[in-house]
């Protein structure tokens, strides 16, 4: 509780957190939607925003506002799922590389450096092309989860490397603590915050990648996500037809989501790194 209060003192964090909460609320609203998100022609087409249709309707005959609630829900679910998968990989690789050192460390870091250096976007496109026919939220999450861990594994590794040199590690080892216990009881305390902040950053990356893949036509466009919504609006020439609300809604919401997630991660990581915190206080 105290942590939360301290965090909220940072105006950036509280701004980000409020926006994330609003978006979560939007996602929850989708459960009360009067319309089926898959169904076309449920409302009159191309209506501008009004009280009846808060964000207007699109050329597919769907209500933009309710469509958006589903989009936010699906995009967030995808992001959490994919980011959770890559967190598991990042933690395992980071711990293993950092703790065991030597050859294992070198091989693992070579692989993750390879991932960092490669044009990941192209690799994702190649893989997505192969599973194009069977693309759905789960497959996309697996795909993005399997590829988005390299940088964070490095971060965790460097944290473990510094923990290994600390006094308490030697004490633990000398007093006969098993490695498993040392890692789960002691190191996890230091690593959890790191996992949390990288989780948020990775979620933003996943949402962005989903939008990109959807816009080049590599996801299943029948599932309403932020990317699918944008793709439909772009392919129906919403801008040329003057249906600005159809484009503005997904663009606005996704930008809000990215900025909010970023502010939250910035706030937490500065809170977790006291050095940065002192600098901020000093700068005020």
């Amino acid at each position: 509780m105290k942590t939360l209060r301290d965090l909220c003192r940072d105006s950036r964090f509280s701004l980000g957190a409020v926006v994330v909460l609003i978006l979560l609320l939007l996602a929850l609203l989708s459960f009360f939607s009067p319309y089926d998100p898959i169904e076309w022609r449920v409302v009159q087409r191309d209506l501008p925003p009004s009280w009846k249709h808060l964000l207007g309707t699109d050329s597919k005959g769907q209500d933009v506002f309710w469509q958006m609630t589903f989009a936010v829900r699906n995009s967030l679910a995808l992001a959490v799922f994919a980011a959770a998968i890559s967190r598991v990989i990042a933690v395992v690789v980071g711990l293993l590389a950092g703790y065991s050192g030597g050859l294992i460390d070198r091989v693992l870091m070579f692989i993750s450096d390879g991932f960092l250096v490669m044009p990941l976007f192209l690799i994702i496109v190649m893989l997505a092309m192969l599973v194009r026919e069977h693309m759905n939220t789960v497959n996309l999450a697996l795909l993005l989860g399997a590829l988005g861990w390299a940088w964070d594994a490095r971060l965790i590794r460097s944290q473990v490397l510094s923990l290994r040199e600390r006094e308490f590690t030697y004490t633990a080892i000398l007093s006969g603590t098993p490695t498993r216990k040392l890692i789960f009881n002691e190191y996890s305390l230091f690593i959890t915050p790191l996992v949390f902040t990288t989780l948020i950053n990775n979620m933003a990356w996943v949402v962005g990648m989903e939008i990109t893949l959807a816009l080049i036509g590599l996801t299943n466009l029948n599932i309403p996500t932020l990317g699918a919504m944008l793709r439909w609006a772009v392919s129906y020439q919403a801008m040329l037809l003057g249906l600005w609300w159809w484009l503005l809604a997904p663009i606005g919401v996704s930008i809000a989501l990215f900025v909010a997630l970023y502010l939250v991660s910035l706030g937490t990581s500065e809170y977790l790194d006291p050095r940065a915190r002192i600098q901020r206080v000093g700068a005020r």
């Binding site: 950036r12 070579f110 692989i111 450096d113 390879g114 960092l116 250096v117 490669m118 044009p119 990941l120 976007f121 192209l122 690799i123 496109v125 190649m126 893989l127 092309m129 192969l130 599973v131 194009r132 026919e133 933003a204 962005g208 990648m209 939008i211 990109t212 816009l215 080049i216 036509g217 590599l218 944008l230 772009v234 801008m239 040329l240 484009l247 663009i251 996704s254 930008i255 990215f258 900025v259 997630l261 970023y262 502010l263 910035l266 940065a276 600098q279 700068a283």
Partner: protein
């Protein structure tokens, strides 16, 4: 000699290894599917329904069989894959049959390189200067505004920013053309009007790439210089009454720029991907747009070609930066 042994040779080995790893990944990916990739690709092509030249289909299947060579054992497949690669033969493109893939790539490559190099260098320089200033002179109002703008720009993905710029400056305020690399039908020549046309078309894609590049460099540089500012040599310079501007330029920036050079090599792959995505948004005639057309037409030959060439281009660029690095860091030269 020590320098060669300890810096140059490890770099070269790393270059070869990473390139090999990347190309091997390209080799492995199509083989991940449990079903025959060629069968499924042909099925995808047929499902598209458009009429294709049967000769094109046959040749495509032939190249695919040759490249994947699934009848042969895996090591044999791997060797024939490399043989083709080394002779820069990726087979014919499917959607503009029978043009070889390598020719299409050759046509698009200069556009991407031009856009990528200009924006990367520009945004690296600008971002480091603004970031350095704002990290060092923390009290400045103007720099604080820049900090806030950067904070809102940085997390936006390439595609979304590009799309927003298209809507703002091509549709709502029609200042710039919204697609292409030059006006269709314009004569390609080194005349002033053609160059002007090219620059006008390149402006929005370059702007969208530069904005994000500046934002990333600004933020990391700000953090680095805040750390440098606490170092003893800066404090000493202050006590010795060295002018603030001289401390900033001669001591703080010079030391803080080094990790940024390394950072550039690590993020080149990402920047490259971003450039491809931006090209797709603006239908800019580089590799990205070629990739988009390959995706739409399920041209797997072309996609493999683009990926392979990109991997080689990026690792080579990284090697170049790595080789230039000792020029900036005397510690490595005199080790």
């Amino acid at each position: 000699m020590r320098f060669v042994r300890r810096y140059l040779i490890p770099r070269l080995i790393q270059y070869v290894l990473v390139t090999w790893l990347g190309i091997t990944v390209v080799f492995i990916i199509p083989r991940l599917l449990p079903s025959d990739p060629i069968e499924s690709m042909v099925a995808t092509l047929q499902a598209q329904g458009t009429f294709r030249d049967p000769e094109a289909v046959r040749q495509m299947v032939d190249t695919l069989r040759d490249m994947y060579g699934l009848e042969k054992s895996l090591p044999e497949q791997y060797i024939s894959f490399w043989k083709r690669l080394l002779s820069a033969d990726f087979g014919p493109s499917y959607f503009s049959f029978p043009t070889p893939v390598i020719k299409l790539i050759g046509r698009s490559f200069p556009w991407t390189v031009g856009l990528l190099l200009t924006t990367t260098v520009l945004s690296w320089i600008i971002g480091n200067i603004t970031g350095g200033l704002s990290g060092y002179f923390t009290g400045n109002r103007l720099l604080k505004i820049v900090d806030w703008i950067v904070m809102f720009l940085r997390p936006i993905p390439y595609y979304v920013l590009g799309l927003t710029l298209v809507i703002l400056f091509a549709y709502l305020l029609p200042l710039f053309p919204f697609e292409g690399g030059y006006t269709i039908g314009a004569k390609i020549a080194f005349t002033w009007s053609f160059i002007k046309d090219v620059l006008r078309h390149a402006f929005l894609p370059a702007l969208s790439l530069s904005l994000l590049g500046v934002a990333v460099n600004h933020q990391t540089m700000r953090l680095i210089i805040q750390g440098v500012k606490e170092e003893d040599y800066i404090r000493y310079a202050k006590i010795a009454a060295v002018k603030e501007r001289a401390i900033f330029g001669r001591y703080a920036m010079k030391n803080a720029i080094l990790p940024q050079i390394t950072g550039l090599t690590l993020s080149l792959g990402q920047i490259f991907g971003g450039a491809l995505i931006t090209e797709i948004v603006f239908s800019y005639p580089g590799l990205g747009f070629l990739l988009y057309r390959a995706i739409v037409n399920s041209d797997y030959n072309l996609i493999m070609g683009i990926t392979t060439i990109s991997i080689i281009a990026i690792t080579t660029l990284i090697l170049l930066v790595d080789l230039l690095y000792p020029l900036f860091d005397p510690r490595i030269r005199f080790r």
